[in-house]
Amino acid sequence: MADNSIETITIGCPVCGNSHLYNLEVERSVVVYNRLPKNAFKERVIRFIRLFVCPVKQSDFQATFILSDIPHSPIRTVNVLGIAKESL
């Protein structure tokens, strides 16, 4: 089972100097708690490096960010969807 959520992040672009708002798709697994012992899942912080494209200069840059797992819903991956509509 998977649970996907769209989250946004504002990044100060190193290419053009402005801030851009990006949409990220966070894929999480749904863990059925009753099948795991209570101490099997600990809250964890995961580090991601993703490439983003500056909409002004059309050049890419990288950003490193960390995400905390929601209990019983460990993060599988994060995909960059693109510029959020609000920042256009």
């Binding site: 990044i11 801030s19 840059f61 990288q62 905390s68």
Partner: protein, 154 residues
Amino acid sequence: MKEKKKNKNENQGMELLEVSAVTPHNRALYEAGKMLLTDSITTGRDFCKFMISLSTGAIPIYLGLLKFVLPEHYTLSLQQGVLAIIPVVLFLIASIVFTIGYYPQVSQFSLDVIDEIEKERTRTIFRRKKLSLIGFSIFLIGTVNAIVTIIVTL
């Protein structure tokens, strides 16, 4: 004075650590990833093309070796003949399977819909992978059979 905009997130649990130009290592990985994405569809096709030649070429090689190890004017019995011909049949079947894998596909998708392109690409890759595995397994069985037949004939 222009207010400096800070990097921020709008969701709990997400924290931006660093923003920078793409490092050379990541750039190289990105280029490698692009190559994997674009070349993966042709890799399967090229493999099928190569294996068609290899499978059909194995037939005269095997028959030549068999003729070489058999005494001159030796006639095989029916049973011996059937056993000797099995590798040839397997090589032929393998080449047919690879030909099916290489055969052009017909599909429809719109370039505007990325999901359709990805779905079609995945379908093509998995189809060729399945046929390549089947064909290669048959080819391997034929090869082993051919080696055993020649050794037994010796």
